[in-house]
Amino acid sequence: NAGVTQTPKFRILKIGQSMTLQCTQDMNHNYMYWYRQDPGMGLKLIYYSVGAGITDKGEVPNGYNVSRSTTEDFPLRLELAAPSQTSVYFCASSYHSGTGNGYTFGSGTRLTVV
């Protein structure tokens, strides 16, 4: 049981480049999330999805895009990388509310934009 898998673990991008951060879960969770974590700061919600085909903006969506074509996958796209997007990105998933099971997080992607 892999849980939530994020790839890549590390990446260095040049300003203006684009990339996709991959997130896959094998627990049949319907809720999925993308967060960024900056040094000394908490988690900021970028985008989230309550099921396949449904996505919505979080607190800091500018500069990012997502899609949810399947229950398992929730990729995060950076189109024109900027230094302000240097951060650690975490993907998470959960069942619907009421189960008391909480969320499962991926191991993170450390992104540096230079």
Binding site: L45, H96, S107
Partner: protein, 110 residues
């Protein structure tokens, strides 16, 4: 919206001292609350949940509806408890939107 507040960004204690990490929530109803922990350079992991009333690694948390709080406590801190701690509610059944508090860094000094 379901929101939680962690008023302390950093909490520094000596080994063996009691620890209390504060969490307040600002919505009504019967909240389902969790504490998550993130050790250095690791993923977040669930520490404990309100519904199970469990004690994990010596930590406990009691939901106080009168004070709208869910503080995390441990009577004797250990150096290995040094980490970042997040309080969070369960996703709303309507939107699934999950907003974390800013987190509290616990530093346990030898």
């Amino acid at each position: 919206a379901q929101r939680v507040t962690q008023p302390e960004k950093l909490l520094s204690v000596f080994k063996g001292a009691p620890v209390e990490l504060k969490c307040n929530y600002s919505y009504s109803g019967s909240p389902e609350l969790f504490w998550y922990v993130q050790y250095s350079r690791q993923r977040l992991q669930l520490l404990l949940r309100h519904i199970s009333r469990e004690s994990i690694k010596g930590f406990t948390a009691d939901l106080n509806k009168g004070e709208t709080s869910f503080h995390l406590k441990k009577p004797f801190a250990q150096e290995e408890d040094s980490a970042m701690y997040y309080c969070a509610p369960e996703p709303s059944g309507n939107t699934g939107k999950l907003i974390f508090g800013q987190g509290t860094t616990l530093q346990v000094k030898p």
